[in-house]
Symmetry: C2
Subunit: 509 residues, 2 copies
């Protein structure tokens, strides 16, 4: 971690020292089992996933290591063609999960998975029916060799469950038994876990209530897809464990997580005044900025501090990869609004394949590094601050270290600005549900109406006059599809359509 | 385009009307062939690509339509298995290009390409040797059925040319003839065009000096990979042409591009004070926010206005896709720093595949819309502004319209804030080259030195004492690879390593 291109001096750091010390104390309490997620009354223990011996009373270290072993054994069996579906070895895995249950696994597979191994991973992370269709088209003829991995901590996540139903229906259409090709990752005793047991799914892996979605990459959530695609997940956990040790160091000046958090604080005045642009110079790390975006923004983007004072905190993160992004928005970074700082990630090792000089004495990798170094220098000269993180190679070990570094830096930064890093009160996970209920009521009313009705009439009739716009959109949307049982009759002016039921054509269920 | 959830009133718009009118006049001049890219003394004519009859004197409309036809005929032949390599029909295309020559093509293929057609597209857009290796691993055994498409306007872009050398070397290693599987897209008379002609490449397609990289998606740069992957590129051009017509309307109040640009201006006080978060609720549009990011940030992120006054303008864009992003950073958007506005893209059509009710009366698509509507409402209630763009379906036509809408909105916004939208003075395209020259000089010195030398000694000896840090990094980097001819001998303290030549093992060329 190189902060030599961030403009600060020791006088800036001094006043923060007592706060940094308190932040480290808070991390000690966290790791000892403090109830840090007050909203849900939960401990926050992703650190115990890579050092089960540190789990506090009430958390069973054996269960942690047994869970890890089960993932290992299962993935090894699948890859060896020993754990099979009804019709032979698996060739694909469809990972179904949203938010933290998607991004971490995707990062791990993309950064460290084998590109031509026996198992090809696919991800469904959104309620987009189009993506289900496209994935099924891609898997056409291969569904009988496809493992479906359903990930939901609570076992109730609507989108995850809906996507699972879609896959199940596709299996049924082809006369395939879903259960014998499905696995679940969920908290013990959840609806999903019970269902997997009762329906005799192929396997079930444990998730823990003390692990949040955005820090679940070192749980079975990340380890299972990682191991299935050939990632050495043991090395990944070891890398994270090593970084955990290095970032527990009480001397703030030699603790990289503290240093990183202090830089964020100083650059953005503890208010997130500057955006964090992350540029990993390695295509395989292209998802890393989005991973950090989720980790940071969901953790520190809070309305109130822990005393309840309205603070509207946040730290915006974006970025894709260097040098690609140099050709997209570096123009603005160099010349435009100075409202950001940059973090470049430099990977020492270039490649495994044959080396080639593209000009005398210089390879493609030399040019990639040249781009990094030139960009870092140019931005600094223009008055922008640049943090540099260097890893010798991109391996499961270094990725584990990188993830653990940011996890702890976020925890420390949240302490510095006094917000709770472990809740997400602003995210209504069931965001769609009230709209769906409105839709159901509106459709019911249209079906029962004796004559075509306007959206306004429907909204008033169902007691939601204030929601007339949404009622209109919902009905117009259904009428725009030929099989949803609602027909629109054009009105004289926009939004004056009248809707009635189409009793002939209704949705296929 | 729905701006009903943006807080403004007609009094805010009135003072901007004269400027909006002047902006439209400037667009008329642009389309009539004004030299808008003053830095390079060029016209800016991407509009003529979809209406060649509008090309001004000096631009040959027949050449534009002939170019388009050539792309069509070639792609049709490849897809039909009539245009073939030495060993039969093509199955893959590797598109090599950077910046605008990569992002537009990727967007077009991902949004509208056929997922299980005869040609699978792959993209190399970065100087990352690792990605070359991974792509070659993926294409193992299929290189003889792989078309390589090299895109460089100037025909000199270093990264593009280096990636081409890498592919050429891979072909050679397998005894394959590169030329008969390679095509070029470049300006007539460029080095690349001459080379393609002399080496008898399979085909060459025209690019025009009046088309900038970030607006090249409707040139052969985008059309070729699009057509190869089954996109109806004629419909794509028609969609763009239709939007061009709709956004030439002089009455600002019924011109969607003017309205969009005015919203950006009002929300951000003409200073980009708020970040533009783009959330398309359709996975196939996940690259759209990055496409707009490049288009907007490279166009308006400028140090000076057109009078030369230092203004440090910019308009930061980020985003990925809804509802996925609701689980990553919506927490901060709802509760945190109110330093942004949101644009949601709503696609009417859900899917082509069989419909399924995931709860009584409601499908997955209903839930996706429910997420969009709930998020839009929740953000607005919290005081955030939301622009909504609705397209009936995601087709080549609507994508063309969307692209043309943003292209023109950016041009108009740049007029409103008085910056040149068509240059990129801050982007030193050859960023890596000075570092590579330093590397060559440093290596030369180490090779000739009689004894191991420190980075500082090298930097002084080559007359670059100020660059000692980069000299150190370059030599340490080379020494970190076993085949680059440089060895490091550890020093007493960090950075005190001494470097010497390794005359036995040198780079494979």
């Amino acid at each position: 971690l190189d902060v030599s291109r961030v403009r600060f001096n020791d006088d800036d750091l001094a006043p923060l020292s007592p706060r940094a010390a308190r932040a480290l104390d808070a991390m000690v309490a966290l790791e000892a089992g403090a109830i840090a997620n007050l909203d849900e009354g939960r401990m926050v223990g992703h650190y115990w996933l890579r050092a089960s011996g540190r789990a506090p009373l009430g958390v069973n270290p054996t269960a942690i290591s047994e869970g890890e072993k089960a993932v290992h054994a299962f993935a090894k069996g699948v890859r060896a063609g020993e754990v099979v579906g009804r019709r032979g070895p698996f060739e694909h895995v469809v990972h179904i999960g949203i938010g933290g249950s998607a991004l971490g696994p995707q990062l791990l597979c993309e950064a460290c998975g084998d590109i031509s191994g026996p198992i090809t991973p696919h991800f469904l992370d959104n309620a987009d029916p189009d993506s289900v269709d496209r994935l099924l088209a891609l898997l056409h003829g291969a569904l009988d060799r496809t493992l479906v991995s359903v990930v939901s901590k609570s076992g109730l996540t609507p989108t995850t469950m809906h996507l699972t139903m879609e896959l199940e229906a596709a299996f049924q259409r082809q006369g395939l038994d879903f259960a014998c090709q499905a696995v679940a990752t969920t908290v013990g005793g959840s609806d999903l876990e019970i269902r997997a047991r009762e329906e005799n799914w192929l396997a079930s892996f444990p998730m823990w209530d003390w692990v949040g979605g955005r820090t679940s990459i070192t749980s079975a959530v990340g380890l299972l897809p990682g191991a299935l695609t050939g990632v050495d997940v043991k090395a990944f956990l070891d890398g994270a464990a090593t970084m955990d040790r290095l970032t527990r160091v009480p001397d703030a000046s030699s603790n990289p997580a503290v240093l990183l958090a202090l830089m964020w604080y100083l650059v953005g005045n503890g208010r997130g005044d500057k955006r964090m642009v992350i540029l990993p110079y390695k295509d395989r790390l292209a998802l890393f900025p989005r991973y950090v975006q989720q980790l940071v923004m969901e953790s520190v983007g809070k309305e109130r501090d822990r005393s309840g004072v309205v603070v509207h905190q946040g730290l915006t993160v974006y970025g894709n990869k260097g040098s690609t992004d140099q050709h997209t928005y570096l123009q603005q970074l160099r010349d435009g609004t100075p409202d950001f700082f940059v973090t470049v990630v430099h990977v020492g090792e270039d490649r495994q394949g044959p080396e080639l000089e593209v000009i005398p004495g210089a390879t493609l990798g030399d040019h990639l590094f040249g781009n990094l170094e030139a960009t870092r220098n140019a931005l600094y000269e223009r008055g922008r601050d640049v943090i540099t993180i260097r890893i010798a190679d991109l391996s499961p070990t270094s990725l584990g270290a990188l993830v653990a570094l940011y996890e702890r830096a976020v925890g420390i930064y949240a302490e510095l600005i006094d917000v709770n890093a472990y809740n997400q009160p602003g995210v209504v996970k069931a965001a769609a549900e009230p709209i769906i209920e409105l839709q159901q009521a509106a459709v019911q009313h249209v079906r029962n109406a004796r004559q075509p009705v306007t959206a306004e009439e429907v909204a008033i009739a169902i007691g939601r006059p204030e929601a007339v716009e949404t009622v209109y959109k919902v009905l117009a949307r259904l009428a725009g599809h030929s099989n949803r049982g609602i027909v629109a009759r054009a009105g004289d002016v926009p939004f004056a359509e009248r809707f009635h039921a189409d009793r002939v054509r209704t949705v296929v269920t």
